[in-house]
């Protein structure tokens, strides 16, 4: 699996992804943020639809994760709770298709700058490397 570079998509809300705005991709990579992760920013994680997560898999993602505010401290009150439920729906669908549910994950993180933002990406990078390419790609690269 050593030559496998995963394709990981991260959907992050405006508040939890401030670091990327401030530091840019390069700055973030210097802090150890894996290059395998491509971030897409959302005004709120609650905006994210189940279909958008599935689309990411259709577009070739091996793993997808969502970062939203702490459950009880979402800037938009319920946004990150909604996102977590939608991630749950995708996990259920992947299980039905006999694909590892852990290919999709929800993280509730504090907003602003902190090592957990980088750590979440590293964890997903490690996890997906271990799992290997997504079977949903049907052998496509």
């Amino acid at each position: 699996m050593s030559d496998f570079t995963p394709n990981i998509r991260a959907f992050c809300c405006h508040y939890t992804s401030q670091q990327i705005c401030a530091e840019g991709d390069e700055g973030l990579n210097r802090e150890g943020f894996p290059k395998s992760v491509a971030i897409e920013r959302l005004v709120c994680s609650g905006k994210l639809q189940v279909s958008a997560i599935l689309k990411a898999f259709e577009d070739g993602a091996d793993g997808v994760y969502v970062v939203g505010c702490p459950e009880d401290k979402c800037h938009n009150l319920m946004g990150s709770q909604r996102a977590a439920k939608r991630v749950g729906a995708v996990r259920k669908a992947l299980t039905e298709l006999d694909v590892e549910a852990d290919r999709v994950e929800m993280y509730h993180l504090e907003r602003g700058f902190h090592p957990e933002f980088v750590a979440a990406a590293q964890e997903m990078d490690r996890r997906i490397k271990e799992m290997g390419p997504s079977p949903l790609k049907g052998g496509k690269k």
């Binding site: 639809q49 898999f57 259709e58 669908a93 298709l97 790609k137 049907g138 496509k140």
Partner: protein, 222 residues
Amino acid sequence: MIIAERKPINEIMEMVKDVKRVLVLGCKGCVTVCSAGGEREVEILASLIRLGANKQGRTVEVTDGALVRQCDKEYIDGLDNWKGKYDAIVSMACGVGVNFIANLRPETIVYPGVNTSFLGGSAEQGVWSEQCAGCGNCILHLTGGLCPVARCAKSLMNGPCGGSQGGRCEINPDVNCIWQSIHDRLERTGKKEDMLRVAPIRDWSTAGHGGPRKVVRDDLTV
């Protein structure tokens, strides 16, 4: 409204295992309101079918669409929009929709994408419960507006069975004994004596026990 729920994906994948071009067809009626088969759910199912097929190492062409309703002849004509573009339809309407397509399009292969669950309503977001069984001979005027046909586990007509305890049904303590609720409501609304009426033995032919039912309105037929 009619409440439905998407079928397990594997069941749907099995239906379409040999199909090369699938039309996933939503309905903008009841199933949109209960989030089972509207445009949003169509998009999700279309995606899941493509992903499932990829996983099996084959490609399927999935088109998504939706009709205003699938329970009216006129709207079924809308299928012509996708003429020649699919080999089979997975309908996300209730069973009525699937039947209507099968009735009106003798050559078309159509599969159900949802399980049609019951006639019900949503008392809170994301939760639906059964309220009416469409028995064809409504008696709600005698029961305080609460339906013993649909909401009593035994469809009893003359008060609770012996298993009702603390206002709960013996089949499951999470379920209200509807006869207790009927009693309480009749009492609150000053109609307690209605409880004493003995309901005659019912003719269930209107409830489907006499074969498929039909309503004909002479004033509307042409």
